[in-house]
Amino acid sequence: MKRLILNAAFAVGMSLAAWCVSHVAVAQTTDLRAGREAVPMADNPKLEARLVDISQELRCLVCQNESLASSHAELADDLRQEVRELIRSGKSDQEIKDFLVARYGDFVLYRPEVKPLTWVLWFGPFLLLVMAAIFLGVYLRQRRALAAPVPMSDEARERAKQLLKG
């Protein structure tokens, strides 16, 4: 029986490992593909490096959990092309991001700007942490008060002495 469980665990482990390997492989081909697409512009590796830098910070709007650098969506292709041209025309990284934000909103940024609208997003987790710490402190103090030693009366002390002697 034990053996069976061990075997099953081994099988699960192996398939998990295989899954991971296959997904890493996919991720790598994605990168390679991005590189190959860039070949026509490879006469300017600096430009491509900047394109990757910028587009890793940008979200693809079609497949929302992918960055613009890794997405294969058609719109992502078009947007990368647009970013290339903006780089060529001498725009700064910030200007390029502003260009996209003006069209698609803060949503395209993986790191939204810190402004009143995004305060909850940026500081909310810390606020929760502080609240949890306060709650924990209060709770521990209450518990300590409950478990505080009760002072011994003289009578009880006397009795204890007697018992120890006995």
Binding site: V62, E74, L75, D77, L79, R103, G105
Partner: protein
């Protein structure tokens, strides 16, 4: 007894919070373009020849811009709604044919004029079959004007006021309910001013 209820209430609060989150559509991204002037462009129209269209041509009237393509499945669902809407003549609708020739299309790499001709043909055939709600339709073959309008899915619909300012944007297929409850009241209000 009361103390037992506290975690329950907290938990219910969390459930409601998450349930609301689940119901929200992540594709509904507020457009920063609402309230801004409609980006300028000049594009060839569906009609043969060198006819061009620019948003300036619509200055002084409230109009709608509807992004569509013959390859777009959701457009087919939306189209009868738009055709019925246009028959009431409440507002001119300009079609915006977005990347009619897709990259996987053999014609994608052909010269611009050939692509334009093919896109016009396809679009006209499609409009003949499904009805034409548009006063005209512009051809954004490479999708670059679409980028200026923040297009990221087809269909999309914009309402633009007399001064050329975008007042409303909707991503996805419009429904009769949306037109009746949101778009028409907005158009009536914009027409007054």
């Amino acid at each position: 007894m009361k103390k037992v209820l506290i975690p329950l209430v907290l938990f219910m609060g969390l459930v409601v919070f998450l349930a609301v989150g689940l119901k929200r559509d992540p594709r509904e991204i507020p457009s920063p373009l609402v309230g801004k002037p409609a980006p300028h462009f000049t594009l060839f129209t569906l009609e043969l020849g060198d006819a061009k269209f620019s948003p300036v041509d619509m200055q002084g009237q409230v109009w709608m811009l509807n992004v569509w393509a013959t390859w777009c499945v959701a457009c087919r669902e939306e189209h009868p709604v738009l055709v019925a809407f246009s028959e009431k003549n409440q507002v001119p609708i300009v079609g915006f044919s977005y990347k009619e020739i897709q990259p996987q299309d053999p014609a994608y790499k052909s010269p611009f004029d050939d692509k334009l001709k093919l896109a016009r043909e396809r679009s006209q055939v499609w409009l003949k079959r499904h009805g034409n709600p548009y006063v005209t339709s512009v051809m954004d073959l490479d999708g670059r004007v679409g980028i200026n309008y923040g297009v990221y899915g087809v269909p999309e619909t914009y309402v633009i006021d007399k001064a050329g300012v975008i007042r409303y944007k909707f991503v996805g297929a419009v429904t009769p309910a949306l037109l009746a409850e949101k778009v028409l009241p907005l158009i009536a209000e914009l027409n007054k001013s």
